[in-house]
């Protein structure tokens, strides 16, 4: 009955099947095979990535929970913990954008409240193809509406995020969602099953046939038949999740639970085996007791269903009635479906008859681990070459630097994402002190003086050109954004989006990126406390840009010292921290002005980066910065322009030095204005404070100088003594504000 075709349908290789038979001492039945297939899928087992992930730094005095649980946790003082993680929902979002994105939000929220934390903020990192394509606009609209539909309804604010557009994501959009919650440090609950005989409860939505083999789908490439996989996408019910969230948090306060876990990928299978495995125990359930939405479901279907909004609980003996009562209050019914055993087996019964019996270890710790072959892809040598003297003329429409600046501000990558974030409720819970578009998202923690800043960042183009440095730059940028808000970066979470790991070139990108993340996180003292790997992001053999996305969480000891990107008043001194080297490789400028994705990404000195970030935290704490904004896409000129937006038209007059990177004066000026050298931040300070800021910068070893002052209604930038940019802030802001919006122009208000 189990022939090669059945194996292929389950995404299992023949040698993996042999391994299963060896563990079982017999051929598995179909239900058992299904269970193995999801637990050994790339999505659940991390079989290709595990050897690399092991090299990441995960510890530190601030870490309360590292990888391995539903989410990571860090100490934020006053007895509190920040619990956070990022997760991808790329594959489902391509097939069905609204529900794919919505259930991605639902899944990450469950991961957070499963730990006993109340979720208080969401972020997302999205990648799409070119907005010129109608298909991209349709996917973007669906994804944004799905995120909004779920997050708004459940009442957790989406306080920030980032979006980029590159053709490589046209057939494979990326939807990475980050959630953060707060718990008392002593109240963190784990996903563990312990104590023989203890009751195992199921609560939440009924189980249906939706999402069967979702984890397997997420572990394969797409082709033109992918739309047929639509039934493998789940449907979200944020109202059900809101009830589950409130009821679970209420139950958790009663100290009646041994452990709790949500049913995400691989549903009931994954939650039962992982809980048993963590507790060194077995779990026995009877599928006939599982609440079902449809009739005639087989044990195979029930075990593999990925119906959303379901939780599995192990309850302390004698406390069952208390738990049931709380769920009833919320009109939820907790069903006792099994018990904890001592034999270390996952045992599935149907009306008392055993239909599957597998050692937990075979499904978890003993799942296959691959050291996939890696080799440096050939395309790299070609794309890393960049001869600035051979650039040729830039796009004819960009006749001068003003026009180039406006073109950059109007590109969807750089332009305002207001069209997107106004669809997200970013204020509910009344904690948001730095709104979307202002830099890192910042939420205050009520009943304390504190606030948490968070940012998600990644640059697929940089990683395509140099995966290792690109990944390091992503870590640096996320941490820098947090530091710009005045918060000390504490820890990180990563979402690693790559192509097919069975290709040595892709695996090399993956290995390089993980190395880069590890090095940067060690240098910046932001250990990785958890995350997610999404492989097989390919359609018809075309891989996405390698796209590690990094989320960093930082702590502000005083919420009222938060800093945003906007200039505050005329007459302030503008200070540039860090040094520009005119690096144009991989820049947005090369892409927009010359249509080139070429060169190595900017260099990164992690020691200098760390010094810069420490200085930012120090300046914010001393209330010396009135605004702070980091230089990234589009370089210094774009950063300065963004500092003037949303200020009511406060302009700036700035003079910077020439750089010499090419023979042509035009190229040198462009490099000074639009080069994307890392570790730079534009800060505004009251004039009297400028000397003090420079002194502190010197003591910290951070290059710093006053480059101009705020005021007037124009942005003027002189390079090497000649005015290169002179635009009215209102004109520039109009271009920037409508960069994304104008693609959806028919919809007003």
């Amino acid at each position: 009955m189990i022939d090669p075709k059945v194996l292929e349908r389950h995404g299992l290789k023949p040698d993996e099947y042999d391994r299963i038979v060896a563990f079982m001492g017999r051929d598995p039945n179909l239900t058992e095979l299904g269970i193995f297939s999801v637990m050994w899928s790339e999505h659940c087992s991390y079989k290709s990535s595990r050897v690399h992930l092991k090299t990441l730094p995960t510890g530190g005095p601030q870490v309360l929970q590292g990888p391995g649980e539903n989410a990571g946790a860090v100490d934020i003082g006053e007895g509190l913990a920040a619990v956070f993680k990022i997760e991808s929902h790329n594959h489902p979002s391509f097939i069905e954008p609204y529900q794919g994105a919505a259930t991605g939000v639902g899944g990450i929220i469950r991961d957070i409240f499963t730990m006993g934390a109340r979720p208080i903020a969401l972020l997302n990192s999205l990648r799409f193809g070119s907005l010129e394509e109608p298909a991209t606009r349709r996917i973007l609209e669906g994804v944004v509406a799905g995120i909004a539909g779920y997050g708004n309804s459940i009442g957790i604010p989406t306080v920030g995020g980032e979006i980029a557009f590159e053709p490589s994501y046209a057939g494979n959009p990326l939807v990475n969602v980050f959630c953060l919650g707060i718990a008392k440090a002593t109240d963190i609950i784990k996903g563990v099953a312990e104590g023989a005989g203890n009751a195992v409860y199921y609560v939440g939505a009924k189980t249906g046939r939706d999402g069967i083999h979702g984890a397997t789908m997420a572990s394969a490439e797409f082709d033109d038949k992918s739309a047929e996989k639509r039934p493998a996408v789940q449907v979200g019910d944020p109202f059900m999740e809101k009830l589950l969230l409130e009821a679970c948090l209420e139950v958790m306060k009663t100290d009646t639970l041994i452990g709790i876990q949500d049913m995400g990928a691989a549903g009931l299978t994954c939650s039962t085996t992982e809980m048993g495995s963590r507790g060194g125990a077995g779990v026995e359930i009877d599928v006939a007791l599982v609440p079902q939405r449809e009739t005639g479901m087989t044990p195979y279907e029930i075990m593999l269903s990925e119906s959303q909004e379901r939780m599995l609980l192990v309850v302390k003996p004698g406390r069952e009635a208390e738990v049931e009562r709380i769920f009833e209050k919320w009109d939820l019914h907790a069903s006792r479906i099994g018990k904890v055993t001592t034999d270390g087996l996952l045992r599935v019964k149907e009306n008392g008859m055993v239909v599957a019996e597998i050692p937990n270890r075979a499904l978890t710790d003993e799942a296959p681990v691959y050291e996939r072959p890696m080799s440096k892809p050939e395309y790299l040598a070609e794309v890393q070459k960049l001869d600035l003297d051979a650039l040729g003329a830039r796009d004819a429409r960009l006749r001068d630097d003003n026009a180039a600046l406006l073109a950059l501000l109007g590109s969807p990558a750089i332009g305002s994402k207001r069209w997107v974030y106004r669809q997200y409720d970013h204020m509910v819970r009344t904690n948001t002190v730095n709104m979307p578009g202002m830099g890192a998202g910042v939420v205050r923690i009520k009943d304390t003086d504190r606030a948490l800043a968070m940012s998600v960042d990644g640059n697929g183009r940089y990683c395509y050109l140099d995966p290792r440095r690109g990944a390091m730059l992503a870590v640096a940028e996320a941490a820098r954004n947090v530091a710009c808000a005045g918060a000390k970066p504490l820890a990180a979470t990563n979402c690693l989006n790559f192509g097919n790991p069975e290709r040595p070139g892709i695996m090399w990108q993956f290995g390089q990126a993980v190395d880069g993340i590890g090095e940067a996180c060690r240098a910046l003292d932001t250990p990785i406390t958890g995350g997610n790997v999404s492989l097989y992001n390919e359609t018809d053999g075309q891989s996405i840009y390698p796209t590690p996305v990094i989320g960093v969480v930082g702590l502000l000891e005083h919420a009222d010292r938060v800093v945003s990107r906007c200039f505050r008043s005329a007459g302030d001194a503008i200070v540039l921290l860090g040094e520009g080297r005119g690096e144009l490789g991989g820049s947005e400028y090369l892409k927009v002005a010359h249509g080139l994705v070429q060169g190595g990404p900017p260099s990164l000195d992690l020691k200098a980066e760390r010094a810069l970030q420490d200085l930012l935290v120090e300046l914010a704490s001393a209330r010396l910065m009135r605004s702070a904004h980091d230089c990234s896409d589009g370089g210094l000129a774009v950063t300065l322009a963004e500092c003037t937006f949303d200020t009511g038209g406060i302009g700036a007059d700035v003079a910077i030095d020439d750089v010499k990177v090419a023979g042509s004066a035009d190229t040198n000026r462009a490099a000074a204005l639009f080069g994307e050298s890392a570790s730079r931040v534009v800060v505004s300070v009251v004039p009297d404070a400028a000397a003090g800021v420079l002194k502190r910068a010197k003591a910290a070893g951070v290059p710093a100088r006053v480059i101009g002052q705020t005021g007037g209604h124009d942005l003027r930038i002189a390079v090497g003594g000649h005015v290169a940019v002179a635009v009215a802030v209102s004109d520039a802001e109009r271009v920037w504000s409508s960069a994304v919006e104008h693609y959806f122009a028919k919809q007003v208000a």
């Binding site: 309804s153 459940i154 009442g155 109202f239 009830l243 106004r422 669809q423 204020m427 009344t430 002190v433």
Partner: protein, 237 residues
């Protein structure tokens, strides 16, 4: 004095209303569970924002059948002050306490942003501390806030001075651009004929601290305190 904040399944601004009344305003506040029938001695009732019952049938359509709504109705009938915010406003409409209905925003999409409101009338328990014509900045966050009623109903609302808030520019002008959802006559908030029940789509409870972008919403909650203290409108639960 005491604010009673009704919690429906799916309410998600209940904690925000509690924080604003209890911690910012320094008044008593208590949650009232929708299955309860005891108003616990509240002087003022608040129906908070959110997605009661997931808003799955129509916004507010199921919540109005919650047991506590009978008590809310009779409290309102006795002249007790009731404030419905966002989803709470939608529930008041569904319950027939205020006439009219909400349609999908004219731009179809959910909109979360700061808007400006003009206080049109000050003889309600939620505007008595404000100036007539005062412009307040506070956020909206809704997908269905496009107020609709038959022309005859609108005419009657205007004649009775039941339009309490209108969307305006920062300078206080009613314009189409200042109207974020397409509401008829720029209507952002209304009261009942007896003027003790007020509903509005914008969120005053989110605009009570300058750190959050505006403290203009405080005047609405302070009005409730003032009206109870002055004893003009008294109906004890």
């Amino acid at each position: 004095m005491k604010f009673g904040i009704v919690v429906f399944p799916g309410s998600n601004c209940d904690h925000d209303a509690y924080h604003a009344t209890k911690h910012v305003l320094g008044q008593d506040a208590e949650f009232l569970w929708h299955k309860d029938t005891d108003l616990k001695g509240a002087d003022v009732l608040m129906l908070p924002g959110g997605f009661s019952y997931g808003d799955y049938l129509r916004t507010g359509a199921i919540a109005r059948f919650s047991p506590i709504m009978r008590e809310v109705q009779s409290f309102a009938a006795k002249g007790g002050p009731v404030l419905g915010i966002c989803n709470g406003f939608q529930i008041l409409l569904e319950a027939g306490l205020i006439p009219g209905a909400m349609l999908r925003n004219r731009g179809v999409k959910f909109v979360c942003q700061q808007v400006h409101l003009r206080v049109e009338q000050t003889d309600t328990p939620f505007t008595c501390a404000a100036r007539k014509g005062q412009v307040l900045k506070m956020p909206i966050a809704h997908g269905e806030g496009n107020y609709f009623a038959e022309p005859a109903v609108i005419a009657k609302l205007e004649a009775n001075r039941q339009v309490i808030f209108r969307y305006v520019t920062a300078a206080g002008e009613v314009t189409d651009e200042a109207n974020p959802n397409g509401s008829l006559a720029g209507i952002a908030g209304l009261c009942n004929e007896a003027r003790n029940v007020v509903g509005l789509m914008p969120h005053p409870e989110r605009a009570c601290e300058s750190a959050l972008g505006s403290a203009d919403g405080l005047v609405i909650l302070e009005s409730a305190v003032q009206s109870i203290k002055s004893g003009v409108l008294v109906a004890r639960a």
